[in-house]
Amino acid sequence: MTTILKPTLTGTEASMPLSAQTKHGLYNSYSSMLLGYLLEALKDKQAAEQYLVEIFSQLEFTDIQAITKPGVNTYCQLQMIARKKLSAFLATVDDCAEPAKTSQPRVISGNKFIDMMSHEQQTVFCGVHYHGKSINALSAELEKPEAEIKRILKESFTIIRNQRNDTATVHR
């Protein structure tokens, strides 16, 4: 069973101002997940940590209210903020997918979800998720219609979903 993490108030937070408490709660719940994403996207630990600090530092109270509203997935919202912040930088990072005709190793390693995907699925999933590419850009890059790119992306998520369900079954 998957649980949605929400910021919780700890003893040390009680002495902080309200905004700091909320931000610290968010940081406690999501910083490791966000750093993992930043690390995979940037492939540079120092830069990823720097971006993490910037993202949380620039979170304003209104942003926090918006991303912690009921019915909103806080992590996904934080990830979107991170993605926007990285958009300029991501274009310069190498693609994750292993080049089809060379023996060059993949840039992202240790990601079991990506390992389970085909080359095409890796290209699409990593392209949008880690490199901030649009469906339109991938469509032009792979010379395939946008609907096909969306289908491949959906397949990638099916693999992730199956893996998630398998994990949930094991833990049950």
Partner: protein
């Protein structure tokens, strides 16, 4: 069903990965609000994203929070007011309506204020004092000059008398 076709189209996946266009996002928000199936599918995809992130999570160094906490400024959450209390009919008793939901309500009174309130009639008193002040000032200047002129004349007369005595 239209909602199932929409779910199968891959737009939801594009949205959670941030690659959907603005028009697609708008359409998705509409579909999400209208069809619970779309909302559920989106929630599941968001959980998938969380699952990936949890699997690949990396604990940040302790100093990261210290850097963030240095930049935090105290922000005060403004209480939410009920819009009805600002309706035209509520003007006369607005102080009674100006309250938030829940909890005891008090009218805040400043115990230590550097300002004081006085009756409006004091405005005319202050105006009269100001005008009288100006008149007295004018008189003082006039008499001062007149006095100085008179003294000069006395001095001149004394000088003439001394010259005549010689």
């Amino acid at each position: 069903m239209i909602q199932q076709q929409y779910i199968d189209s891959g737009i939801l996946e594009a949205y959670v990965t941030g690659s959907a266009t603005e028009a697609e996002v708008e359409e998705l928000m509409y579909m999400k609000a209208k069809y619970p199936e779309v909302n559920f599918a989106l929630q599941q995809l968001e959980l998938d994203m969380e699952h990936i992130a949890q699997t690949m999570a990396v604990t940040p160094p302790a100093k990261s929070w210290d850097k963030i906490s240095e930049t935090i400024d105290e922000l005060i959450l403004r209480p939410e007011y009920d819009p009805k209390q600002f309706e035209p009919g509520a003007e006369k008793t607005n102080y009674q309506n100006f309250r938030t939901e829940g909890g005891p309500q008090f009218i805040e009174v400043e115990s230590e204020s550097s300002h004081m309130r006085i009756h409006k009639t004091w405005k005319w008193v202050f105006a009269a004092v100001f005008v009288l002040g100006k008149i007295f000032l004018g008189c003082a200047i006039y008499f001062y000059l007149a006095n100085r002129q008179a003294q000069q004349q006395v001095e001149e007369l004394k000088t003439e008398l001394r010259q005549l005595k010689k």
